[in-house]
């Protein structure tokens, strides 16, 4: 079976405060950058799986994201093929 690389992007839901993003947003102007409107920081996860088809890979990793990689109470995630 071929190896497929699947990417999971996990981000705090829009209504959840992101203090890391805010700290970075506040730091940027002191480095001479224009103040950004907002900065949100999340996680980028790359998972390689051995499956028959790319769709199977997406489905398998999507399930992993649902159960473990993201916490649906505070985070949204998106799954895509690399």
């Amino acid at each position: 079976m071929p190896v497929h690389k699947v990417i999971v992007d996990v981000l705090l839901k829009p209504e959840i405060l992101d203090p890391q993003g805010q700290a970075v947003a506040n730091a940027l102007p002191s480095l001479g950058f224009a103040a950004p409107v907002s900065v949100r920081i999340g996680k980028h996860v790359e998972v390689e799986v051995d499956t028959d088809t790319p769709d199977d890979a997406l489905q398998q990793v999507g399930k992993m994201a649902e159960v473990l990689l993201a916490n649906p109470v505070i985070e949204d995630f998106r799954v895509r093929l690399a």
Binding site: L12, E15, L17, P19, A23, L68, L69, N71, V73, I74
Partner: protein
């Protein structure tokens, strides 16, 4: 009364929790994360620390430990379970308690003695507590969050067990320091009652009430 304390890789406060159980008059039973056998304990404490290095999210990996499978089943059957700090995070990740604990709003790790207003004594772990207590708080990811509907329900149903007073240490919504489930047998608190059980080593003995409460709760259902 046998009170189990689960040790995960990265637990820090398991010995303190065992000691608190003994000082309250119970028998502390060391439980291992990799063992699903709860050894017939009457209640369980999930201690503070950094289980599995807090990788991914605090409490996210601990939730899948064999011991946690048994704890979740036992909790659903009514066994008293207390999660302290990292243990609270594990209870939320296990969906035994609603909401989640996120990075402190100001990003700093906080370690100080904290005043709490006890808002519910109708749980297995808080029946003995007075209106106000002071116990240490020490966390980096202790900011309690949940959607408005959940927060409203928690407050309306009397399921907030304690509020921060004299300053919110981590940005928790509505100053919530601890909550319980519908049945009142599962309690999660971010501050550390097990560090306030002797005058010599803590801000007082206000934390002892959590452990004497559960001993009485177990006795009354036995």
């Amino acid at each position: 009364m046998r009170i189990g304390v689960v040790t995960f890789p990265g637990s820090l406060d398991d010995r303190d929790a065992q000691r608190a159980v003994r000082l309250a008059g119970g028998k502390a039973v060391a439980l291992w994360h990799g063992d699903a056998d709860l050894q017939g304990v009457d209640a369980v404490v999930l201690p503070g620390g950094f289980s599995y290095g807090d990788y991914l999210r605090a409490g996210a990996i601990a939730r899948f430990a064999p011991a946690m499978g048994s704890v979740v089943d036992a909790a659903k059957g009514g066994m008293p379970v207390l999660g302290i700090c990292n243990g609270f995070q594990v209870l939320c990740e296990s969906h035994l308690l609603p909401g989640a604990l996120t990075r402190n709003q100001h990003l700093h790790f906080v370690n100080r003695d904290q005043r709490l207003r006890v808002a519910s004594t109708a749980t297995s772990w808080t029946a003995d507590l007075p209106d106000e207590i002071t116990i240490p708080v020490k966390n980096g990811e202790g900011s309690f969050v949940a959607d408005e509907k959940t927060l409203d329900a928690l407050e309306a149903e009397g399921r907030v067990v304690a509020y921060y007073v004299g300053g919110n240490p981590n940005g928790s919504l509505r100053d919530i320091a601890g909550i319980t489930n519908e049945r009142g047998n599962v309690v999660g608190v971010m501050p550390h009652p097990e560090h306030a059980v002797e005058d010599l080593t803590g801000p007082g003995t206000d934390g002892l009430g959590f452990f004497t409460s559960v001993l009485k709760a177990v006795l009354s259902t036995a």
